[in-house]
Subunit: 430 residues, 4 copies
């Protein structure tokens, strides 16, 4: 038996793969959570500004979803329904149609894919290729779309790409909005390359983008740029796929991240907060004309996670049946913005990134960002970095975080930054 | 608004993607389920011999798992934990170590991947490629490993492959055991191709197989063949990956499908019934030497589906802490075998397939198999086909199905077959 | 300046790439050649049983081709004509039509590709993919089709494949005729895989084969097998491509290697001896229905090697305007066969390979084969090995070799074998 | 027999593939050529400003090469030598070393590849991938590197790419120098993408470029840009490959197109005019450290086109043993420049492209350029277009063209342009 199989080391060291990650910087063993707070086995509580990477937009264990789920389970409601019709799926679809799709004039169909964001992206890429008969998909610098082979080919991150063990094909990489600040408009760049008969960029099946690149460093595309890209997609016979897995479900201040931009994507990928409760669920919204997969042509066992349908329905009905919640988001976004502006002012050249409740600060150095987050963790706040060098401190608080808790968390962040910048954290450690 | 957006058609017709599938042959709207039975909104109950495609091996809403899950939710246990340490994950790992891995002398590490089987397969393929620095993976005729791009390249099914919209690379296809009955041993065939310096089969990163091909028609590999393949993998510097997603978790009569075969795979992929309750969960077991992914190199949001850890732990403790359950499986397998032998006797050239509680009958014709399943559905039994032509009627009853229910279900199947073969079903329909 | 740039080493050591090969075993510097004999700078002469790897089927410096070429050059005939019309190209096409295509009822068009066999194979693969809209091409164990990326993907040799530096896609490898002597017919094997809807072999654009695998060890397909493969191609909507680069131009006893087999390939690739004089020239014969490339869609500078057209025309007119030459080939093949049978009798388990003037002996060991060839070189015969382990001694004498010279060369080979098998060569070396 | 097999249509219509191209716009059947003039069967003579697409830089049938070649053939010199040592290859290598490599301080080795430019490019790409263990190769908009699968993946032209019938992988496309006139420096763009850890551009094996894009529209890179690219290659561990197939052999005014730029490529590909006589020959120059192919790892039958070695040696000795020829080129380039400036002045927005004896005029419209070339053909001048829309009239006169002939040809071009712009050609046609 290998040495670390000895029971003197923790079960995680003994038996969990080295691929585990978040636990390395936040080594507590967590046990319970409510709203925006999470508590470990020993009873220590943290404010949670990570929110399951935006998969807990409505906080932990929302009481209404919780009650509905317990009732469902107690009544022997289905847990798993393959892609059979179930009453819970019907109820979710009806809520999603009434409160989300119809008010936004979207006639999209809902395809339930395997319950991971990557699976939704894979399905979206396959649809676009099948619809157009083309292979090439345009994706952008710093885009993140998952790590299964198809999705990974569209993901920019070199560390993840290196894990493929094979070459990643079928995607042309283009610079995202504002990649060269003050210089060439990157949509014009793409336009020129696509128009050039010898440009070497094959006719695209799709253009795939996030309006705010969550993992890529909170780069927020301007509405003008997104509209330009949408026009290029249309002019070139390509489908526009918006990956709203992280930026959707209210994270940017509206249900979809793109809804104030004047574009209607042909395909939208959703996951993370769509179940509302942190349960695995993913889906692809697709315009009826492009809903061309045959039965089970893209399939998977867990497409009918019925527990998730229950909580997802409650989430839609509770938060999106009128505009009250959306108005709150706007106020909270301002609170975050103001605090982050203070943080940015503390670090030379630092600047704000993102929009809505998906904001952060680029502190230029990945080491500095990590140190600040580590200090915040010590002080009772869970918060993470993003960006190509992990140089962006990213606030992903639950959208439902009470204003007081939000301010409290932001204050911990500012204190942590101050500690690091003044060296207090190191003195404390001695 | 397109015509079928009108509210006079069902919400599924209006809004669910055409990719939906099982619901087409079983159009009821299901609501509740207990054990081996499932009930629709109208109160009609079916015996379930599909069991979520083997993702409900312990039946629907097992009372112990149900109680534990409700307790967990009631106590505000985490729903979603990214890959943080949680008490529930620790408890699952400890149970899995004590009752599964240690008794079988397996020092594998557990990698929690995105909660779909395809994601586990993608991770396994990436690991093998990274470990060996090679690209080529050997997979077999009629293998099914999922439909994301990497997994799909290993899947044999032409209908699914056609959905890729691009060419599927990096896999060499070889004939499964007994592909040419009475002729060349296909392991010797593979051996010859691999040994031949001009054979054109690049040195493999892995050999990937299911010991029983669930989707491929219940083709069961012999222990000798699996051992031969394992030796070829070792001799050629390739990893042996056994995809136990459908055949594992007791389905073949032992926890792993391969455990009586004298082989220890380098990597095992698991999903479907690993949560025990139908909740999305997948994992990769990997020998410590090959556990080489860096932190989050293969990542995903839903790797910490804490609800699933709760039920998965109960499943392991309840069914696998001693050999009582395994002994039951053997008896039930005999019951299934006997009934299916009767069925096979009714159809010329029909023959039995599979092993354990993963048996079926190849009735030669896909149309006939479908007709029999449709008739069974009318009579109160949910059962499905598999195989390249959907010609195999497949019994995937929950492993926990009481003997009486099992016999009752099998009798319905026999009756349905009789109806179809005598034309009674058509007379009834007139 | 690196050490070996010093002028004390030969210009080849100093300046020619390490990729050079034949010169390593035959280090003489050759200067002149006539018929079946080749002479070095020092005046030593060898009988040439390599014949430019079958690119000198009519021997060196055939007097009629030589005269025509000198006249053409003297008259300022074009050397290079891109793909313009030239009088010499017209004359070649007319000769090829009259003496080759029409008598064999072939309505194929002639596409002049870049003047390498690999380029012809690349063009053929591209045509098949464009015609069918499919990607997959079936190629065989031990096939050799060239080393540019597309052709290399169809080549079986692992050493060459390893030089790609990238994975080689789009080809499914199948066992050649008689790959498992006495067991499964490999055409039936391919048939089963193609018919199986879950066999994992995508619908093929083409089946690509050599009737005798020159580099692969002189494996000769039976007419029955080739016909079966041709039927499979037709039944599966794939084009049949016969790569006749090495086996064509009379090498197997008829102009095309396949002409007595009862098949008409959709595409034939030709190179090597098509110019008759060793000049670079390659072409693709394609049925009119599949001649679908647009102007210059597959292009290249040297498609109009006018010198080659001159000699190629003479070759066709001189050797193929009646059947006298073909009758000679049959007699010579028997002479070769008899001598090789004697050689085979000298080595345990050795056996004859190939057919026509493309015969050899598998002496089981690559080392033994090399030693025999090296000894033959010392004794005045140039001859090479082939096969996956270089275990086949291959006789590729010019088809025009006079009977006396042929016997003389074969006797040197037998003597060389005897020397090696009795150790005489080593004694001599001491 | 298909209709056009009838002998009433020309042999080219009957039997040559539809892929033929140049002959469509210049339908004469050419027979002889001397220097810069080419004559058809009927005795009509044209000035040749196409020069075999720059493969006849020293004109047709140079008397010294012609004499040497006739002498070689008359003496039964080898025509074809595989990659054996031959006296003619040694003589070529010695001349190339003395007059080309040593004076330019280049210690490169010479690899003789299959005699097409595409084959040299394939070999270069394979070397870079093998040396670095990476797959990705950076190539540029409007680059042209050949149409075999590997080379085609690096070629920008969409028409050629469309002929692949499969997706073309392993290449990242970047904008060439000055792609966005007056905006972002494209080398800085590439630098940013390569430096970005999440930029999605995998670490490159090589950067591959032409200093003047012959097929792509005579886009000439500035020395500063090429130096910047060379530095990026070095900084990123990638090889710099300069494809000098069209721009080399004196075409840009020096033997190599890059020799005044202050860069030393790791690999140079050469073909077209390297034989000096239009005979097929190609080679790769590679720094000794990267000369890592094993014997025959990249092979091919026609690597030893001995006739080409004869003429190539004469070309080197005659034109490059001192600087007289190079000085002439400079004068002729000025003559071409002045005439093309006149042409550009005739067309609104037209502008000059290229450098050395590789200049042209972008007349904005492909139709206009074609019409002018067609009119020039009528008037006795062969000249072609290039560029993504065929909008660039390209002068590729033999470098040896006498000044009078050069002026005469340029005058025909100006007359032709005038005819077209004034409509005279159409009046004439009525």
């Amino acid at each position: 038996m290998p040495k670390d199989m000895s029971h003197s080391v923790s079960i995680f060291e003994r038996r969990e793969s080295a691929a585990r990650s978040y636990c390395r910087g936040m080594p507590a063993t967590f046990a319970t959570a409510q709203g925006s707070e999470i508590t470990d086995e020993a009873g220590k509580t943290w404010i949670d500004f990570l929110a399951g990477c935006s998969s807990l937009n409505y906080g932990h264990n929302d009481p209404d979803m919780k009650a509905a789920l317990i009732e469902h389970i107690s009544n022997d409601g289905l847990a798993h329904g393959l892609d059979l019709h179930t009453d819970t799926k019907a109820a979710f679809l009806e809520a999603f149609e009434s409160h989300i799709l119809e008010p936004r004039d979207m006639d999209h169909r809902v395809m339930f894919t395997g319950p991971t964001g990557a699976n939704a992206v894979e399905a979206a890429m396959k649809i676009a290729r099948k619809v157009t008969g083309r292979t090439n998909i345009i994706a952008f610098t710093n885009g993140f779309h998952g790590v299964t082979t198809g999705a990974l080919s569209a993901t920019g991150n070199g560390y993840h790409r290196g894990g493929a063990g094979t070459s990643l094909n079928g995607v042309t990489r283009m610079p995202f909005d504002n990649y060269f600040p003050g210089e060439t408009n990157t949509a014009e760049f793409l336009e020129a390359m696509l128009k050039d008969q010898s440009g070497g960029v094959d006719a695209p099946a799709a253009i795939l983008l996030e309006t705010v690149q969550g993992e890529g460093g909170l780069n927020a595309a301007s509405p003008e740029w997104v509209r330009h890209i949408a026009k290029l997609a249309k002019d070139n016979g390509a489908l526009l796929i918006i990956d709203d897995i992280q930026a959707g479900c209210g994270r940017c201040g509206t249900f979809f991240s793109f809804e104030d931009m004047g574009v209607t994507p042909d395909i939208v990928t959703m996951a993370k907060s769509v179940s509302g409760f942190g349960l695995p669920m993913a889906m692809v919204l697709v315009k009826p004309d492009y809903d061309i997969f045959g039965p089970a042509e893209h399939n998977g066992t867990f497409r009918g996670n019925t527990h998730a349908f229950v909580t997802a329905r409650v989430a839609i009905e509770k938060f999106w049946s009128n505009d009250a919640f959306q108005r709150e988001l706007s106020e909270k976004a301002q609170i975050v913005h103001d605090a982050l502006a203070d943080l940015a002012a503390m670090v030379p050249d630092a600047h704000l990134k993102g929009r809505g409740l998906m904001q952060g600060v680029d502190v230029i150095s990945g080491d500095l960002a990590s140190e600040i987050c580590a200090r915040a963790y010590e002080k009772g706040l869970i918060i993470e970095t993003s960006g190509s060098e992990d140089q962006v401190i990213k606030v992903l608080a639950p959208l439902t975080t009470p204003t007081d808790t939000l301010r409290k968390g932001l204050n911990i962040l500012l204190d942590a930054a101050n500690d690091v910048l003044t060296g207090t954290n190191k003195i404390a450690a001695e």
